[in-house]
């Protein structure tokens, strides 16, 4: 694998050289560590990545071919052609596994799952079924989830999660009200991710669920439930903190799930608080009170993220802080608060943040822990 594909390895190599020159690591130790990193191969290789891209291109080629020859072909022929592409993909997957390329086989499975969806769309077209695109997507995600579970294919499962979101999006736009059935699809695909022990998949699950919870604020009670979203996010964040602090053994057993959980919960809480403050503009007094709460929570979250080395949560905290300050500025300009007072308040908050950061850095220097 080329060096540029692995920033972690590059950094480790530099650090190891320094550690070796300081006499902390022996030459043998350094070689052994690098060999171990080399063999663990947790990173995505170039070949499978290109394989996935190629399968997407093959999919488009197949669909264009079918569409171009659609009119010349008897309708039974169309159906058989669609089925043939699906079978060809699975056949290729089997052949690749037999030759020892399981990652490329995943790309072939992804191709077949894509062709399954294309077939649903083309059959709908053949029979002039236009009304409910969501029904077609429902059939697609179920078929893709089935393939992903049976063949233990992570890319197919990822596609299934994306399709659950698309399905829910269509359903929501077709009728008023929350599409609760999303949670069923989400839970099924998430269970498959857990069964596969696939961490990127769990991130996808967390992202999908976060978006769903945030969307609740825009749908429940006519779109005025952002406060509820903020509370859900805050409770989830508290749960993550409690798990990290009170049940560290459980957290370790679950592959340190609390840290990313905290980051997603923080994003949900802030999205709710942000919408509550600025989408439906409350009276100025309420806005100031909410803004103070929001800034205090963001600062607390940043401090916690710093103390636990949670980079994801730290970035969300910084982004949330900037968004909060900039939007507050936009809203309060010209109001009784006045621009200069606004900057004064912002400056005080930032100074406080710097003070907290300094203290934390001192603390960790004192205990010999890296900041």
């Amino acid at each position: 694998m080329p060096e540029m594909w692995s920033p972690y390895k590059n950094r480790l190599k530099r650090d190891l050289e320094r550690w070796q020159s300081n006499g902390w690591v022996s030459g043998e130790g350094r070689t052994a560590i690098l060999a171990d990193v080399e063999s663990s191969g947790r990173e995505v290789g170039l070949a499978p990545a290109l394989g996935i891209l190629a399968s997407v291109l093959f999919g488009f080629a197949a669909i264009s071919f079918v569409a171009a020859h659609w009119e010349d072909m008897p309708r039974l022929g169309r159906l058989l052609l669609l089925l043939a592409t699906i079978w060809a993909g699975y056949g290729t997957a089997g052949w690749l596994v037999a030759r020892g390329y399981p990652l490329l086989a995943d790309a072939a499975i992804l191709f077949s799952a894509g062709m399954f969806g294309a077939s649903i769309m083309l059959i709908s077209q053949m029979y002039n079924i236009g009304g409910n695109p969501s029904d077609g997507v429902l059939m697609w995600w179920i078929g893709t989830l089935f393939a992903g579970v049976m063949l233990r294919s992570n890319p197919a499962l990822a596609l299934a999660m994306v399709l659950v979101c698309v399905w829910s999006f269509f359903e929501t736009s077709e009728k008023n009200g929350v599409h609760w059935a999303f949670l069923i699809g989400w839970a099924l695909v998430t269970a498959a991710f857990i069964w596969q022990c696939w961490r990127p998949g769990l991130h996808l699950s967390a992202l999908a669920l976060s978006m769903f919870v945030i969307s609740l604020g825009y749908q429940l009670s006519g779109g005025y439930q952002h406060g509820l979203v903020a509370v859900i996010g805050a409770l989830a964040a508290v749960a993550a903190v409690a798990m990290e602090k009170l049940q560290p053994d459980l957290d370790a057993k679950l592959d340190h799930i609390a840290a990313p959980l905290f980051a997603y919960a923080l994003a949900v809480a802030f999205a709710g608080l942000f919408a509550r403050q600025f989408l439906v503009v409350p009276p100025l007094g309420d806005l100031i009170a909410l803004a103070v709460v929001a800034l205090a929570l963001i600062l607390a979250a940043i401090a916690y993220a710093l103390s636990t080395g949670n980079r994801g949560a730290l970035w969300i905290g910084y982004i949330g802080f900037s968004a909060e300050i900039l939007t507050l500025y936009g809203v309060t300009v010209g109001s009784i608060l006045g621009t200069s007072l606004f900057f004064l308040v912002a400056a005080i908050i930032v100074s406080f943040l710097a003070y907290v950061a300094l203290r934390l850095a001192r603390q960790s220097a004192g205990t010999g822990r890296p900041a």
Partner: protein, 195 residues
């Protein structure tokens, strides 16, 4: 991906067979509806020209796409609609062969006269005037899109606008509908059933 094992080929086969069967079922159900459903012909209404032509299909509007209840009418079942929920429209054929609505309800009607057809739609939006004297239901039945060979949509669209088109619709016993084809200038355009 599942590792190198003897199970790979059987598992791949199971997935391919199940997905193929699902697609076949979709085709079969639709084909059966087209073949055995009660056939009605609905006049196609001109639509907002901006909306008619999207890609390679024409969008068809019908009289029953907008269902209106005014105070002068007393249809007791014209109530209880919700956006996304079902709407059942009973249609009867007049002496001129024109199908018109005789009854609208949010539930499957208890009484259907012989020769009438009940079709099921989905409420897209609801509209009421100030004192609820007029209720308007915008409904879709899944027969609004007709896919056409590339490049021929424009001519068809002109005909839709000048009232020369009727839609042939197959209706199942539960009200499910399928668009069979179009009658353009008295000429039937329809694909034969597949199976």
């Amino acid at each position: 991906m599942i590792g190198k094992s003897k199970l790979v080929w059987p598992l791949l086969a199971v997935v391919a067979i199940v997905q193929s069967a699902a697609l076949f079922d979709m085709v079969f159900a639709r084909d059966r509806l087209l073949k055995s459903g009660q056939e009605i012909a609905l006049a196609v209404k001109p639509l907002d020209p901006r909306d008619i032509f999207r890609g390679d299909y024409v969008t068809l509007g019908y009289d029953i796409s907008t269902l209106t209840k005014s105070t002068t009418e007393t249809d007791p079942d014209f109530t209880g609609f919700s956006v996304g929920g079902p709407v059942y429209v009973t249609l009867a054929s007049g002496s001129d062969g024109k199908w018109t609505e005789t009854h609208v309800s949010s539930q499957y009607p208890s009484k259907v006269a012989p020769g009438e057809a009940v079709i099921k739609g989905r409420v897209q939006s609801l509209w009421q005037d100030g004192n609820a004297a007029v209720t308007r239901v915008i409904a879709r039945y899944g027969i609004e899109n007709y896919f056409v060979p590339e490049g021929t949509g424009r001519a068809l669209e002109d005909k839709v606008r000048s009232h020369e088109v009727k839609a042939i619709v197959a209706v199942a016993a539960d009200g499910t509908t399928a668009l069979k084809g179009l009658i353009v200038d008295g000429e039937r355009h329809e694909d034969p059933p597949l199976l």
